[in-house]
Symmetry: C3
Subunit: 227 residues, 3 copies
């Protein structure tokens, strides 16, 4: 990403006397971001194929699931054009992942569910952490930054379900959005207590990932009022 | 709201030689805004509970119904970040109202429908007036400002219905969005004819509220073409 | 459109020594834009009537189908407020077309389907070309500009289907969004190879229109994976 990024300025400005750690951190963030984008794009394509959409629908759902949450976050925090529109690499990666899923759908079908769930939890945690960080970098109130982290992690899935004309699954069941929210909250609280950005991000990632995996493993659900 | 608000500047700049009326008006607007937010958040939580959503879904619908219309308006008129993102008090109030509705749902169930309808009409009128005013303050064309008022009043309910995978009720039945539109139009016309902002707002509120209540009382419907 | 438009600056700055061609081109663009808006508004109203919506629902769908794609494009490329909000002529035209369709629905029903399909393809091609051009004028990456063109052409129909609680038809069947994408790509590639803006626009229009009409005529479909 060659264009101006407030995040870099913030990181460069505090606590890091030389540029090396910043550059390394930027690369780690970039790789994590691209990995999360790819996982979510594959899931979007998979959902589109199962819903009987055509190739264009598959590509649209790859894009939307991978990038929709970040786009809504950027619109809400005033970071326009959203980075997924400014940086062509993210959409291209989403489309390539979607197309590959379409062509190799039999192989994707045979991936064990446990692996998909784990990769999805990784993607969720990456996006929740990145979303909270970007909101803080744009001077959004810490409480709202936790919401922006959750939105980054879950927004794409919500739009996917709206496009498929069904109630978003995160509103009905599972510890999913709440895991993203918790991870984002850990990032924000960590920053408040003067953790380094890298440590806060790592703690937030672990919190979200472990909470999500434990919820799947033990079948945890949020309370609900019986009809 | 401690940050810069164009609305205050406008009000301070015209016709008011001292600051006192402005301060009082600001407080009235704030209280009205918070009251409308609370009523809509309770309704959103109520709809979520009836649709079988879990606690997270209840909180999301509280947020969306209370703040979704204003957020879309702010994105459309270029007031970013939207005030519901910049000012943490609105989301916190929406979440608290949603959580309280979840915990006290039996009590909420027993509230008479007529009271709920009346409170809802109050919230609708408050939001329609506030939405039209904010659009005018951002130099949006008067005709578009009436649409922004209607959007502020009804947008949250539209997103609620989209999330619940059903056709938005305001598009199908009832004098609801049209009452909001009428109230917003009264505000805009009043301002054009040099009413004081307070008088224009009061007239718009009364117009929307009375039209909505009369429509409920007498079962008024907009025309529709039989299938 | 009397307010500042980056598009005009770009056009005025390159290759046109006098103002005459620019003015003529602006008028052609304006007429084309208004024609596309009217066609799409009629289609939105038609869909609303068939879905049993009331008069307000008909007006909302006229607005959304005619202007929704352009509004989302403008939000994504950072052109806020969107031109459909800044320029009252577009919404007024959409509402007038929607109201006329409501009043004259029997006559609209009797319009031959082939004519409607042709007009729709004209509107699609106009919007795809205009959307790609505007994105380029806002310095969006060429690849993303092709997506913005497709979004301008199809976004309104996607929101229509979401409001009607059904899976957007462009995701499931037909060469429609892909025709818009192809037309937008022709515009972008033409500009890259130093075509005049007018020639690139004309080529993009023809490509989208012919591809769409051929797809209807010969029943072309995109590939899909059998369930």
């Amino acid at each position: 990403m060659t264009d101006f990024e407030p995040q870099d300025v913030t990181v460069a400005g505090d606590r890091s006397p030389d540029r090396r750690p910043v550059t390394i951190r930027r690369q780690v963030v970039l790789v994590a971001d691209l990995a999360g984008t790819m996982v979510f794009a594959i899931e979007g394509a998979h959902a589109a194929i199962r819903a009987g959409l055509d190739l264009l629908g598959v590509l649209v759902l790859s894009f939307v699931v991978a990038l929709g949450g970040g786009i809504i976050r950027d619109l809400l925090i005033g970071a326009t054009p959203p980075s997924a529109i400014r940086d062509w690499r993210y959409p291209v990666l989403a489309f390539v992942a979607g197309l590959a899923t379409f062509l190799l759908h039999l192989q994707v079908e045979s991936v064990p569910a446990a692996l998909l769930t784990t990769l999805d939890a990784v993607g969720l945690a990456l996006f929740a952490v990145a979303g909270a960080e970007k909101a803080l970098d744009f001077n959004i109130h810490p409480f709202m930054a936790t919401l922006m982290g959750a939105m980054t992690g879950c927004g794409g899935g919500v739009i996917r379900d709206m496009l498929l004309a069904r109630v978003p699954v995160v509103l009905v069941a599972d510890i999913y959005a709440s895991a993203a929210w918790a991870g984002a909250a850990v990032v924000v609280v960590g920053r408040r207590f003067s953790c380094s950005p890298a440590l806060a991000a790592a703690l937030g990632f672990v919190a979200c990932f472990l909470l999500r995996m434990a919820a799947v493993r033990f079948g945890w659900q949020l309370p609900r009022i019986a009809g």
